[in-house]
């Protein structure tokens, strides 16, 4: 009996340097980010995200175009801003809400549904790395969706020969707000989506929670303001993702207030910051707890 061997027919054991954990995390991040926009997947998967992205940008383009035309036709008229930086994301929240609801489950539910988590976790990637990579990817995707129209507005303004510094003082904080929006929404969306392996139900759950919370908040705010409980109306904004970030933006980024209700400039308004941080921490905690049960 001969000893067991493997003959050299081309199979080679790889003993050289491997790219390691960081590379794996970066790959997961970039793969997830591309997947949000449907890149690297069949054509149909690109339709919805790009359509929504286009919808987000169109008002910015319209605004720039209108100003260009008005400047030509009525040179003495002051420049109008159809869709100002400040309220852009908030006013178009339905679009980004659908984007979030449609794409979050697509990012995490499939891995859960087809039980591939053990495959991921048997590689150098840890559970926390997986969560961070996915959150970072969703955050980046949302940031792109938010920052692009704001940037278009800014570039359009420069094109229209408006005061660059003046524009920058509006564009900058709006970008800051976009960052916080992207953070909070990504955390919220991925948290809810990871709780169910069914993609359709994940979509329904995210949109239901968003819509019901926003509906309740805006109705309540309307009633409170009509009865002169202005500051209470401001605080009610804590209860829904978009209004929460709006409050944060008003207080922390020294923006003027949009929407209704009144966010106090002093310590009272700081509660928005606290809640934002708490929401992010809670979402992270839920994700960690969720993924601890998976594939163990």
């Amino acid at each position: 009996m001969t000893a067991t061997t493997i003959h050299d027919i081309g199979y080679r054991h790889y003993g050289g340097p491997r790219l390691g954990r960081g590379y794996a995390i970066r790959s997961l991040y970039s793969n997830s980010l591309r997947g949000v926009f449907g890149l690297g997947r069949p054509g149909r998967a690109k339709v919805l995200p790009f359509a929504l992205f286009a919808l987000m940008c169109i008002p910015a383009l319209v605004s720039v175009a209108v100003r260009l035309v008005m400047a030509k036709l009525v040179p003495t008229a002051p420049p109008i801003n159809l869709f100002p930086y400040r309220a852009y994301i908030f006013d178009l929240q339905a679009i980004s809400a659908i984007f979030l609801a449609a794409q979050s489950p697509q990012m995490v539910s499939r891995d859960l549904r087809f039980h591939v988590m053990p495959l991921y976790l048997s590689r150098p990637i840890r559970r926390f790395d997986y969560i961070l990579a996915k959150l970072a990817a969703m955050f980046s995707a949302l940031l792109i969706v938010f920052a692009a129209p704001l940037t278009l507005l800014y570039l359009g303004a420069l094109l229209n020969k408006m005061n660059a510094w003046d524009q920058l003082t509006q564009y900058g904080p709006a970008l800051g707000g976009a960052v916080v929006y992207a953070l909070v929404l990504a955390a919220f969306g991925l948290c809810v989506a990871s709780l169910t392996p069914r993609r359709g139900f994940g979509v329904a759950a995210i949109i239901a929670l968003y819509l019901v919370s926003y509906g309740a908040v805006s109705i309540l705010q309307g009633i409170l303001v009509a009865n002169t409980y202005d500051s209470a109306a401001g605080y009610v904004g804590l209860l829904s993702p978009y209004t929460l970030v709006e409050g944060f933006q008003t207080w922390a980024l020294r923006q003027e207030h949009t929407g209704i209700g009144y966010v106090e400039p002093g310590a009272g308004g700081a509660v928005f910051v606290v809640v934002v941080v708490a929401v992010l921490a809670a979402a992270l905690g839920i994700l960690v707890a969720r993924y601890r049960k998976v594939a163990s």
Partner: protein, 238 residues
């Protein structure tokens, strides 16, 4: 209608996370009603817009979406539906039983909370409350039929249902009255409007037109769903 399909579908819907969400959403509405009542007391001018916007405009389409797609789309996705289809049971009874389940669930989680919220807000079961309740019932029937159809024909039923309910009915309908005239929400509201005295915003379409439209949409959706179910192809994995 088939009793076994009814019972299977009911149990399938009520045993899972879906039922958690279905419970949570109306509770928010009732809590909101209670808070509003505490702030402003009984005031029909606040009750009506709240019920119209929240009960008809948000709760009804969402619950119908979850129920309507949930009674059939997961079964097709998993392949479980083969146990219903490989039987000498008419496709009509299968679809009808699932639709009835969806409607009953939607009515339970929309009409009943609407009644409760209405009573809380108006201090009694008088004028706009029955109208809104009736609106949710007819809206439930039509919405569920449309969403069950979506569940049969598309793997992305929920997203399409969402695009319809959110983008078409709310966003586009908010700016373009013509679009509002072609929406289940408006037709359901027109029944409410006709049953109540002086509600303020008028519906785009009168009740005499809206009710037949709702019935037509329901019947057409049912027929198409049955046809598609007859030719459902299951091709093995995924």
């Amino acid at each position: 209608m088939n009793g076994t399909v009814l019972s299977l579908t009911f149990r399938g819907m009520l045993g899972r996370r879906r039922s958690l969400l279905l419970f949570a959403l109306p509770i928010v509405m009732i809590a909101l009603a209670v808070v509003i009542r505490l702030i402003v007391g009984v005031d029909e001018d606040t009750a009506v817009p709240m019920l119209q916007r929240f009960a008809l405009g948000i709760l009804l389409p969402l619950v119908a979406l979850i129920a309507g797609t949930g009674v059939i789309a997961p079964e097709i996705d998993d392949g479980e539906i083969i146990y219903l289809l490989a039987k000498p049971v008419s496709r009509w009874s299968i679809v009808a039983s699932k639709l009835v389940t969806a409607i009953v669930l939607t009515v339970a989680f929309t009409t009943v909370p609407t009644l409760i919220a209405g009573v809380v807000l108006t201090g009694g079961a008088a004028d706009p409350v029955p109208g809104f309740a009736a609106g949710t019932i007819v809206g439930a029937v039509a919405y569920c039929a449309v969403f069950v159809l979506l569940g049969v024909i598309s793997r992305h039923a929920v997203v399409f249902g969402l695009l319809y309910a959110l983008v078409w009915e709310t966003l586009v309908g908010g700016y373009v009255p013509g679009a509002r005239a072609v929406s289940v929400q408006d037709w359901a509201y027109s029944l409410t409007y006709s049953m109540s005295t002086d509600l303020g915003t008028k519906p785009e379409v009168g009740a005499a037109v809206a009710l037949p439209l709702l019935a037509a949409v329901t019947v057409v959706a049912l027929c198409v769903a049955v046809q598609r179910l007859r030719s459902l192809s299951l091709t093995g994995d995924s």
